[in-house]
């Protein structure tokens, strides 16, 4: 491997509070900062979804106190159509970018990738610090749109053109709101580009002696693959955001066609292309959903292996499948645009890779599920959430069969079927991955255990609740329930309103269950049971062989040497049925790599 000694003294532990906890160069602190940001963002996003759900179920009912958030958006607490869309846009943007991208990838990846490869830190700590703080500023910019101008943009997290580019004539929030949105997302892209750069170089260049690529744990592989996607996907979205801002402030017309008439006024734009935005956005957007879910696949596999006490049926197959997902994710983005007015031949061309991508997804699930066969499965909060992840990933994944086909998409496009699909497969499944990772790594990050009883309660309510919320979304979609409606005024939607009420009740309860998690997290952080040792789960990878919490340079000045494949379980060693990657002990393996 590489000369790690050269990095030995590249930075000394900081002493001041600011350098230690605020502008820290330590990847572990940055990881925790990302986690905290994702936590705040997740709860903001969840509260927004509560308001939306209440409004959808009981449309003209005043929500007490909502007028305090926005006097014009909710006069007397009754939500206006535009405020619904504004909350919806913010919910989607916050969740996709600031939760699903930051928590499994930037937060856990930052904390554990360097440790798992045996490095002291990332190769570019200043970039790493910048990555977080740019993302933090991006979040503040996005939140500021709640109080500036006439509120956040109402164009949805996909911000379709030309609604996003014609300015405030198109509705409240479409002026300043869009500029703030595009600024925030542009900054976010910068943050993730810097992060991806660090992740890739960490994986390729900072592995310790003995850590060959195939000896990397599945989590490290997942983060590496994700960062490769991030580097290319965010590099496309960022310029697209800049072009939108230029359409607003510089009088350009990248995304606005000629002769558009709004409020009886011909708009002063000409010559732009509406579909250009969709191409740019989905070229980012589809890899983005894999950016959200691939780290989850890695985390869940990592946790299940530890709790099954045996490796996955094939380490390499999982790695190649995740790699195939990443490559294919760039060839399928047109399936978001089947009915967009793009050439109908392109729809067919995008349909086939989309159907093909089910093959690596199926392989991942099959390998995970069939690895359970003959295992010694331990049930705890982390493994429950991992198993729940698989169940959700399958449930949300099979609806992809429908949406991959342009002919069926004619029926289901822009309905709640799509909403159900992506909430299950990249929303709930990815959240379950985050929860599993939290319960699993919490003792390493804090030196304390999370409360298992509360963790299991949290799991049961979330698992059953998530199905109650998102399964009916599919049924609504089959009946043609259009998404992004602030109110259901069409005749054919009237019989569906009771279903929406059921979903709302389920969403409120499931949301409330997340408060259990919040309590557990905060309480355990300060008053939880102390972790019994450095390796409470009897795991093998490098993060469990160092002190708890890990010292500033991760391994206390030593450079670990790796002797084994990452998941040596089911062996007879001096410590039990496993041998750690750093242990020089030679053991006979019961189940060898295929």
């Amino acid at each position: 491997m590489h000369d790690v000694a050269a990095h030995a003294a590249h930075h000394a532990p900081p002493t001041s509070f600011i350098r230690k906890h605020v502008f820290s160069l330590d990847h572990k602190v940055i990881g925790k900062q990302y986690y905290a940001l994702a936590l705040v963002a997740a709860f903001v996003g969840m509260f927004l979804s509560w308001f939306m759900r209440i409004h959808l179920a009981w449309n003209d009912t005043a929500i007490p106190g909502l007028q305090l958030l926005s006097k014009t958006g909710a006069p007397g607490g009754v939500m206006t159509p535009e405020y619904y869309l504004q909350l919806m846009t913010m919910h989607g943007t916050i969740m996709v970018f600031f939760v699903l991208t930051t928590a499994p990838f930037a937060a856990f990846g930052n904390y554990f990738l360097p440790i798992q490869v045996g490095a002291e830190d990332m190769p570019f700590p200043h970039f790493n610090m910048m990555s977080f703080w740019v993302t933090f500023v991006a979040f503040l910019v996005l939140m500021s749109s709640f109080i500036l101008g006439d509120g956040p943009t109402l164009g949805g997290w996909t911000q379709y053109a030309p609604l996003n580019a014609v300015g405030s004539v198109a509705g409240p929030g479409q002026g300043l709101g869009v500029v703030l949105w595009a600024t925030s997302i542009g900054l976010f892209c910068v943050g993730q580009l810097l992060g991806s750069l660090n992740f890739i170089t960490t994986t390729l260049d900072l592995r310790v002696k003995g850590m060959s690529l195939m000896r990397l744990p599945l989590t490290a592989w997942a983060w590496f693959i994700t960062s490769c996607m991030g580097l290319t996907a965010f590099a496309v979205l960022m310029p697209a955001c800049i072009l939108v801002i230029l359409d607003h402030v510089a009088g350009t017309s990248f995304f606005v066609a000629s002769n558009l008439v709004i409020n009886d006024q011909v708009q002063p734009h000409s010559g732009g292309s509406t579909l250009l935005w969709q191409h740019l956005f989905w070229f980012f957007g589809h890899p983005e959903v894999y950016i959200a879910i691939v780290p989850g696949l890695g985390i869940v596999s990592h946790i299940l292996i530890t709790n099954m006490r045996k490796p996955m049926l094939s380490h390499r197959t999982l790695i190649y499948s995740m790699g195939a997902l990443a490559v294919l994710s760039y060839m399928v983005y047109g399936h978001h645009m089947f009915v967009s007015g793009m050439n109908p031949f392109s729809s067919l061309a995008f349909s086939f890779p989309t159907l093909v991508i089910t093959i690596p997804s199926t392989i991942v699930v099959l390998v995970q599920v069939f690895s359970l066969y003959g295992s010694k499965l331990r049930i705890n909060s982390a493994s429950l959430f991992s198993l729940g992840f698989i169940s959700m990933f399958v449930a949300g994944g099979v609806s992809g069969f429908f949406l991959a086909q342009p002919s069926i998409d004619i029926m289901l496009h822009a309905t709640y079927f799509v909403v159900g699909h992506f909430h299950m497969v990249m929303g709930v499944a990815a959240m379950f991955g985050i929860f599993a990772g939290t319960y699993f790594w919490f003792p390493k990050m804090t030196g304390r255990m999370m409360n298992e009883t509360l963790g299991k309660a949290h799991f049961w309510l979330s698992f059953v609740g998530a199905y109650c919320i998102f399964m009916p979304f599919h049924y609504l979609g089959l009946a043609g329930n259009v998404r992004r409606y602030s109110s259901f005024v069409d005749d054919f939607l009237q019989p569906l309103i009771p279903v929406h009420r059921f979903i709302t009740v389920a969403a409120l309860l499931t949301g409330a269950a997340q408060l259990i998690f919040l309590y557990n997290l905060i309480h355990s952080r300060f008053w939880g049971k102390l972790a019994p040792n450095d390796n409470p789960w009897e795991a093998t990878s490098l993060e469990w062989s160092t002190a708890t919490p890990p010292p500033f340079d991760n391994f206390g000045g030593k450079h670990p040497v790796v002797y084994h494949d990452p998941y040596q379980y089911g062996v007879q060693s001096s410590v039990g049925d496993y041998v750690m990657q750093t242990s020089p002990e030679q053991v006979k393996t019961e189940s060898d790599e295929q």
Binding site: N59, D60, A62, T72, P75, G76, V78, M79, T80, P81, E82, Y83, D150, S168, G171, P172, N263, D264, S487, V489
Partner: protein, 233 residues
Amino acid sequence: MRRKPILIALLTLLAGSSLMFAGTVSGKVTYTGTPAHQKAIDMSKEPSCAKQHATPISTETVVTGANNALENVVVYISAGAPDEGQVPTQAITYTQKGCQYLPHVLPMHVNQEFEILNDDQTSHNIHPLPKVNIEWNKSQPPGSPPIKEKYDKAEFIEVKCNIHPWMHGYFAVLKTSHYDVSKEGGDFKLPNLPPGKYTLTAWHEKYGTQTADVTITGNETKDVNFTFKATAY
């Protein structure tokens, strides 16, 4: 500050004395030619509104009455009147009912507060399109409180509902409290004018403006009539 009550007393006296010699301008607004055909409005998109109209209502760009009367013309004192700067205190309302603005043209004084009400079972969106005042765009779901607004610059402002594109009206924000809108029969009346020389302006949303000079010398009623030339398209 102490001078203020005295000032008000003086003003009241002045206003009172001028009232004793108040003149009135009244008249009729008519048209010549053939006005454009007003299309019937199909509200089938909003059934709760459509069923409020037994026969479909028509557009209100040009509303005419018997004997070539022209309605919805704002007649006001555009010059010569002492701008009292007194904002009328009575509340004026702009009601959305049956997906129609009542009244079609709402005259008001600069800085006068007005209320917008939603009498329908559907959300409305009120989007006035001012050129010199500050633009806003607000929705009003059924059951939400009245929207209270005012404008601080004189202007004729087109009002649209973004949810129901056929809904169309005007705010006439005026720098005087002497105004009227021609009613059925084209009649208007501006009472309580103190003696003086005035310019009277009549404004119609499609046919533009006309002016007339009038002098009030005492307690009298002066007749001023306006005639607009209508076009078929």
